[in-house]
Subunit: 553 residues, 2 copies
Amino acid sequence: MAKKEKLLVIPLGGLGEIGKNMTVIQYGDDIIVVDAGLAFPDDDMFGIDLVIPDMSYLIENKDKVRGVVITHGHEDHIGSLSYLLNEVNVPVYATKLVCGLIEGKLKENHITNYSLNEVHHGDEVQIGCIKVGFIHTNHSIPDASALYFRTPVGTIVHTGDFKMDLTPVDGMPMDLHKFADLGRRGVLLLMSDSTNAERPGYTESETTVSSAFRKAFADAKGRIILATFASNISRIQQAINTAVLFKRKVTVLGRSMVNNVQIAIELGYLEVPEGVLIEPDELNRYPADQVLILTTGSQGEPMAGLSRMASNNHRSVSIMPGDTVIISATPIPGNETGVGRTIDNLMKLGANVIAGRDKKMHVSGHASQEELKIMLSLIKPKYFIPVHGEYRMLRRHGELAVQMGVEKDHILIGDNGQIFEFSNRAGHKTGHVNAGRVFVDGLGVGDVGNIVIRDRQQLAMEGMVIVVMTLAKGTSHILAGPDIVSRGFVYVRDSEELMREAHEKVAAVLERCEAGNIREWAVIKSQVRDTLSRYLYEKTRRRPMILPIIMEV
Amino acid sequence: MAKKEKLLVIPLGGLGEIGKNMTVIQYGDDIIVVDAGLAFPDDDMFGIDLVIPDMSYLIENKDKVRGVVITHGHEDHIGSLSYLLNEVNVPVYATKLVCGLIEGKLKENHITNYSLNEVHHGDEVQIGCIKVGFIHTNHSIPDASALYFRTPVGTIVHTGDFKMDLTPVDGMPMDLHKFADLGRRGVLLLMSDSTNAERPGYTESETTVSSAFRKAFADAKGRIILATFASNISRIQQAINTAVLFKRKVTVLGRSMVNNVQIAIELGYLEVPEGVLIEPDELNRYPADQVLILTTGSQGEPMAGLSRMASNNHRSVSIMPGDTVIISATPIPGNETGVGRTIDNLMKLGANVIAGRDKKMHVSGHASQEELKIMLSLIKPKYFIPVHGEYRMLRRHGELAVQMGVEKDHILIGDNGQIFEFSNRAGHKTGHVNAGRVFVDGLGVGDVGNIVIRDRQQLAMEGMVIVVMTLAKGTSHILAGPDIVSRGFVYVRDSEELMREAHEKVAAVLERCEAGNIREWAVIKSQVRDTLSRYLYEKTRRRPMILPIIMEV
C-alpha cells in the first residue's frame, strides 16, 4: 500500500440506544460491516413496524464493502441484513446457528441470491486487508461470538453481546483464554457491550434458572405454560429438560418460537428426546399435569401467544384454573405496563403466575460491571469505545474502563455516525457520516419519515376535522358545502351544537370570501383553517388537524 | 330506622388500577364518598388529558350523598373533586393541608360555591347516620389520614395511602395506638392500600433520603438542580434543609411545585428560614455553588421543568458542565423510557446526574409487606377488601391477610363498581353499579369515548386517506374529483406513483357506478372504500382510515 491509510470505525447503530447494532470497520478501500440489526419502534413512532439503521454510507461506498460479519442471531444484530443485502450484496460470515437463523430471515424476505459463509469459533477469515477472528462467548442465545480484527494499524476487539457464564447450559463457557492471549499481544481498540454497565456485580449463570424451573414444576398441579424469548434456545432447552424430568410432553406455540426451535433442533443446538414434542392439537390427549406449553409473549406484546391467552383470545389454548404460567423474562423498559396487564388477566382467569427475575425465572444475557471489568483487564486496550447502550450506560462503562487503567482521553464516547479514526499511534473522533433511523412500515422502507410521523402524532392526540366545499369554477361562489366531517375529535352525536356552530363559522368565512371576491384557494383555505381552529380551541381546548378541501365545478 | 338496612361499600375507582381512587360507603339513604381522584391516561388513550371515575351512581343518588371525606392531597385522591362537586354539591371534610390543596384546585376550576370543612386528626364527624374518624398516618405528603366509619352494622377502617414511618420528616409518626384501639374493639371491614403489596420487607423512612442529599450536596461543585414530585412536601423540606446546611439559596420552578410550596408554607407545613428562597431571575446573582433549583419533571414528562432543561428548552435554566442534577424519584412504570432519555440528555449537556432509589435519592410512600401485615394484625378485621392496586397487587395483599389470620372467604377482591354488602354478621359481593373511565380532553368531560379513541388509534397507526368527489344532483355523474388527500399515510412526494394508481382505481369505480346508474351514496362510498383499501393494502401492507366524502351540486 503506497500511502499510510487510517483505520476508521463508524458505528451506524447501537450507540446511544439499545438495538439496531451495526458498525463499519474500514481501512482504505476495504469496509467490513459488523452486524446488521433492527430496533423496535418507540411509543411515539406511531404505526412503525421496525426501525433499521440509515445505511446510506454503505450504499454510497458499495464497491468498498467486502463483507458482513455477524456476532449472533438476535434481531438487533441480524434483523436489517435483508435490507442491507438488497442494496449491497456481499458475503456474510457467521457461525452455524446464526447462519441457520439468517437463512430463515432471508427466505422470509424473498432474498435468494446471497453468499452465507459458515465459520467456527477459532476461525480467522481474510476479508479485504483485514483478518477477522471469531471467539466463542456466552449470551442469551447459543453460538455467539466476539470478533477481533487484525488491521494494518493494530488489533480491534469487538465483544458483541456477551456475559461470562462459567456454567452455561450447553457446557461451553466463553473462551477467556483467547481474550487473554489477544490482550497479551496488544490491542489497539476494544469495543464492548454496555447494556448492563449500570448493574453492579456479576450476571447469574443461565443454569441458575433450572432450579427455579424445577421448583415451579414440582409445585404445579395442572398445565404449565412457559413464556420466554423465542430466541433464547438455552432457556428453551432448560424448560424442555425440566419437562422431561417431570414427564411432561411439550408443545411449542408462536411462529417465531416454532421456527427457532425447529432450526435449533435441526442444527443440533437443542436436544429433545424422542416423543417429547407434541402438536398443539394433541394437547387434549394428555392430562393437564403432563403438559408443558412453550409460547411467545413474555413482553406482553398484544399479538403474541401469552397475551392472547390472557385476553382469552388464543386459537388453541384457553387458560383455566389450575394452570401455572411461568414468565421466564423481565419486562424490557417500556413494556412493564403491558406485562403487568397480561399477568392480571391471566390471574383473573384463574392461573397461578410466576414471573420475572425476583422469582429467579430469568437472568440477563449481558455482562454486569465485574464481568465488564474482567474483559477490560484481559484485553488491556489502548483505546476503548463502549458500544451497545444508551448514553448513560456508555458513560458508566467508560468510567469502569478508567478504573481498569485505560487513559481517560482514550475513552471515546460517540453517537451513531461518529467517525473514530486510528493510526497505529493515536485515535480520536473526527467527523460524522449520515446515520439515523429508517422506519419500516408494512412494505415501505423509509417512505414514512418525520413529517408523516408528526401528522400521525397530531391525528392521534387531537383527531382531524375536514371541511369540504365545491366552488363554481374560477369564482368563490359556493355550489355545495361546506360539509364538516371529523374523526378522532369528538363523538359527534354528543356534540351537535358544537358542530352546528362550527359550520356556521365556516359558512360565514366563505360568504365573506365570496363577497370580497377572494378566489385564491390558499387564502380561502387558510381563513377557514384559522377561524375553525380558533373556534374549536376556544370551545374545547383542543387543536385537531384541520384540512380544508376545495373542489370546483 | 324501621327495617334493617345493609351496609354497602362500592369502589368507583382504585380497584384493579393505580389511581382515580373513589369509594362509596352507603347505609340506607346515607352515602359518604371517600376520595375523588383522577388517573393519568394510559399510552393508548390518545390525546386524553385526565381520566376520572364514572360517577353516574352518585349523580343518580344525588339526594342521598351526605358528604365527601378526603384521605390526603394527592391528585389520585382529590383530582376529580371539582367534577364531582359540579354534579353533586355536598360538604367536603379534610385536614388542613388537604383543604389548602383542594381550595387551589377548585379555584382553578372556577368552583366557588362549596363547603370545605377542616378537620383534625382525632376528630370524629357525624355524616348522615355514620360517624367518621380521621387518624394520622404517614405518606409521601403530610397531613394524610386513615379513616374509620362507625356504621350501624360495625366499624370500617380505610387506610388511605400510607406507610409506617417511625422517623418522619415532620416528627409525627402515624397513630398506631388508634389502629390498635380500633382493632381491640372489633372491626368489621378493613380496606387497605395495596400499592406495594408485592414488595417484601419494610419501606425505608423518608428521613433516610436526607443523608443521601447531604452526601450529594457535599460532592457538588456547581449548581444543584433537584427534581421531585411537586406534592412531596417532606422531600422538599429535606432538600431545603440540606440547602440551608450548605448555605445555598433555593429557587422553585414549575407551576405545580410553586403552588404547593406556597400553600405548604402558608399553612405551616414547610419551614423555610428567612432569606433562603429567591426568585428565578435572581439566580445569576449567586455563584453556582450557592444555588439549589427545585423543579418538577422527575418522571420525564415532556413539558415539565427538568425535561425542558434536558432538551435545552427551559425559560430560565440552561444546563451547564458542573451542574449536579438529583432526580429524587423513581420512574412510575411506563415512564422509564422518558426518564432515561432525560438523564441521557442532561449528561450530554455536561451535568452529573444522580437518580433514583439505587442512589438512595428516593423512598416509596407506600407500606411494604411487613407494614401491611402489621396493619392487618392491629386491626384484626373480620372482612378484608384490598384497595388501591392492580389486580395482582390486590391478590398478593389478600394472601398476606390470610397469613395474618383473616378467613380465606372473608377476603373480598373486586373491581370498580363491585357492590360489597355487609350486615353485622356477614359480608359478600353482590351486583355491580356503573363504573369505569370517563375521559377528560381539554374542556370536554366524557365527550371523547371509546369510538373517538379507536379512531385516534387507527389514525395514529395508519393515517388517513380522504376521497372527495362532487356529483350532479340526484345522479352518479361526476362533476369534480375524485381528489385524494392523505395525512399520516405516506410522504406523498415519495409516493407519486402509488397515489396516481390509487386515483385511477377510484376513478374506475366511479365510472362503473355511473355506468350502472348507482346513486346510493352509501353504496358508492363503500365501493370506493373497499377498492382503495384493497389496493393500498396490497401495495403497502397498511390499512389507513379511508373516508369517502360526496358532495352534490
